[in-house]
Amino acid sequence: MAQIQELYDAILHGNAKQAHAVTQAAIEAGAEPLPLISESMMPAMEAVGRLFEEEEYFVPELLLAGRAMKSAMELLRPLMTASGQKLSTRVVIGTVKGDLHDIGKNIVASMLEGSGFEVIDLGADVSPENFVAAVEERKPQVVCMSALLTVTMPAMKTTIEALKNAGLRTQVKVLIGGAPVTSQYAKEIGADGYSENASGAVSAVKNLLAVA
């Protein structure tokens, strides 16, 4: 099917219009959402992650690829809901309370989504209460938190404590990231993992779930 390659190319080159059009054509031709995701989208986002690791791609390319991927996902999601198809793993992600930086978090969210996870993005300046509520309601397997400022990092700890107090901590794996965050800090505050960048976040989530 020609669209498999075309969608892969559109995402890799960050062309959202093209990705949207190709996906539309594929749906009209009777393509199923899950194969499109696993055969076009996931390999494309994996290639994007690899190019980032190799320093060929940078933040603008990641954002563009993420947008292209999303423009295809928006067409596929309603079809999946209608036919009762589900992605295997659900991830809740947000930038912690007091911090408005969400570009890095957005890139991680789209890399995760492009890797076949269902991603619930809570946005920026997310309070511990809102993280707890999202875990209660959406029952994710993984919670990802981001902080870009040394002064907002402690909110990660507060959020982990809030999850503990709500009796939810053991139900989820917690992954943290952001420029000032270190693996040492992740250990200190009782997170399950840490990643230095977006493509690392994907492997970290996979490792945590042992689905690699």
Binding site: L63, D99, L100, D102, I103, V151
Partner: protein, 518 residues
């Protein structure tokens, strides 16, 4: 395996090293380009360091070389010292030129009012450096200058680490009041009774820490502080040796991360006196931008990160001896200028911008920021090279500034073509080659409009001091860029480099179409 290590930070280059506890500093410092002119015999005084944090006991050799004043200020001979605790040291031989301002008053085009009697002191309290001047309020003449590193450096290099230290109970207020008290005493020496007024300007964190206001509101979103007003003090309350009749005032802040240094800069550029649209850009870790005219000004801060000070650059260093400060393209090859005509040791912010501009022009760096050819390195001046990640750091920094600039212009419903002039404030703005800044897309305006303006904060502070009262200013609106729609798109658009000088970046159309589809 080895003895216990202690951490030592060397300012103003912010070099972090570890040394064995109890070992002589000479061995670890020599490895980092610090020189011992007499070979460490304790006689020449050329290896003086000032203790900003931690402690070094006074040795006999220290007493030979330094006066009581200097010893009290923390000066010691590095060659005689042993590191028993973690230390932050100011290295005398790396001393940076702190940008003051030689302009007397009145400036050209200013109305000359009735002269006041007496003397005043204007202080630009920066995160890294402090510049202060004595002014004759009658003639407007500059009578004396004092510059120093901000001694709060012992608590971290940037405003966020200062906030963090203050929240953990460290006394940053006492430290800065004492240091400024000494500077003021030197400036006022012999004529203290003539001192009428002291005026201070600085960023919002400096304002809060000097004034003793809590910095807690500045530690989290929405970064709105209830303490933005001007603060007045009596010299006695600060412990300063000035007459009781002398007023000390820290000028009001404009917003959470836009301080009175920018307000003073707006005054110094004369932006609000005419119809012409004028911009002021301070290129620092926290970039600040103000654009306006007599009808009003919009301003914002944008997190550029430390790349302009070469902070996150692998071979980066401050603008000191051995730093590549300028790079030009000579017959297709990069030709570097090194500060102090020394062997190149690293690259400073202005050299970085030049090197990338030259790389773009020669084709060694592509518009996407990728170093061509697969080596991921750009040799600048043996042994100094730029790594791929260095170019990326610069893309983040210049993207943040250019995006902030675009959003403020959009808020004014104006374009770069409507601007009459753009003033670059601060040390980096003073040394960066404007042609290179335009080539990399840091400044998106015709080169002829852009001027290095020096220390506009200090100049504005002098104008405020001289005027006596705050001048009537139009409304100054502070805009939170993070909350502005389209910031992420603009930031990403502005990260790529212009294809050729003056052309829009290759991603300009890409992300716009992505946004429509999404």
């Amino acid at each position: 395996m080895s003895a216990e290590r202690v951490r030592i930070r060397l300012e103003p280059l912010s070099v972090e090293i570890a040394a064995a506890r109890g070992a002589l500093l000479i061995s670890s410092l020599a490895d980092h380009g610090f020189e011992f002119p007499c070979g460490g015999t304790g006689t020449c005084g050329g290896c003086g360091v000032r203790v900003l944090s931690g402690s070094l006991p006074v040795t006999d050799a220290d007493r030979e070389v330094f006066g009581a004043d200097e010893l009290a200020q923390g000066w010691r001979l590095a060659c005689q010292a042993r590191a028993e605790t973690a230390l932050v040291l100011e290295c005398g031989q790396w001393r940076m030129d702190v940008l003051a301002d030689s302009a007397g008053l009145p400036l050209a085009g200013m109305q000359v009012g009735a002269g006041r009697r007496g003397l005043g002191i204007a202080i630009d309290l920066g995160t890294t450096t402090i510049a202060a001047q004595t002014i004759d309020l009658g003639s407007g003449q500059v009578l004396g200058v004092e510059t120093a590193l901000n001694p709060q450096a012992g608590f971290g290099a940037d405003v966020m680490s200062r906030i963090r230290a203050a929240l953990h109970g460290a006394d940053l207020t006492g430290v800065i009041r004492a240091a400024l008290g000494q500077m003021v005493a030197r400036l006022a020496q012999g004529r203290a009774d003539e001192m009428v007024a002291v005026i201070l300007v600085g960023n919002t964190v400096m304002h809060h820490l000097f004034s003793g206001c809590s910095v807690e509101p500045l530690s989290h979103a929405p970064f709105a502080s209830p303490y933005l007003d001007a603060e007045s003090f009596s010299p006695a309350a600060l412990g300063w040796a000035l007459p009781a009749s002398c007023t000390v005032r820290f000028v009001q802040c404009l917003g959470g991360f836009v301080g009175s240094d920018i307000l003073a800069g707006i005054v110094a550029t004369g932006m609000t006196r005419g119809e012409d649209l004028v911009a002021l850009v301070d290129l620092g870790t926290n970039g600040e931008i103000a654009i306006g005219n007599r009808n009003g000004v919009v301003c914002a801060s944008t997190a550029a990160g430390p790349a302009f000070e070469a902070g996150t650059i692998r071979m980066g260093m401050r603008a000191a001896t051995g730093a590549v400060s300028h790079v030009a393209l000579d017959n297709g090859a990069l030709k570097a200028t090194v500060i102090g005509d020394a062997e190149p040791r690293g690259i400073c912010g202005s050299g970085l911008v030049d090197a990338v501009a030259a790389g773009l022009s020669s084709g060694a760096i592509r518009a996407s920021g990728r170093i061509a050819g697969g080596s991921k390195k750009l040799p600048v001046a043996e042994p100094v090279v730029l790594y791929q990640s260095d170019v990326r750091e610069l893309q983040l920094a210049k993207g943040a500034i250019a995006a902030g600039f675009r959003l403020l212009l959009r808020r004014l419903r104006a374009s770069a073509g409507d601007l009459k002039s753009i003033y670059l404030a601060g040390a980096f703005g003073n040394y960066v080659q404007i042609e290179s800044a335009v080539r990399i897309g840091l400044m998106e305006a015709p080169q002829a409009l852009i001027h290095a303006a020096g220390n506009t904060a200090l100049r504005g502070a002098k104008l405020l001091l001289w005027a006596g009262d705050d001048p009537a200013l139009p409304p100054i609106e502070h805009i939170s860029l993070a909350a502005e729609p389209g910031f992420e798109d603009e930031f990403a658009n502005c990260m790529a480099f212009p294809e050729a000088a003056g052309e829009p970046s290759m991603f300009a159309s890409g992300l716009a179409s992505g946004a429509h589809a999404g």
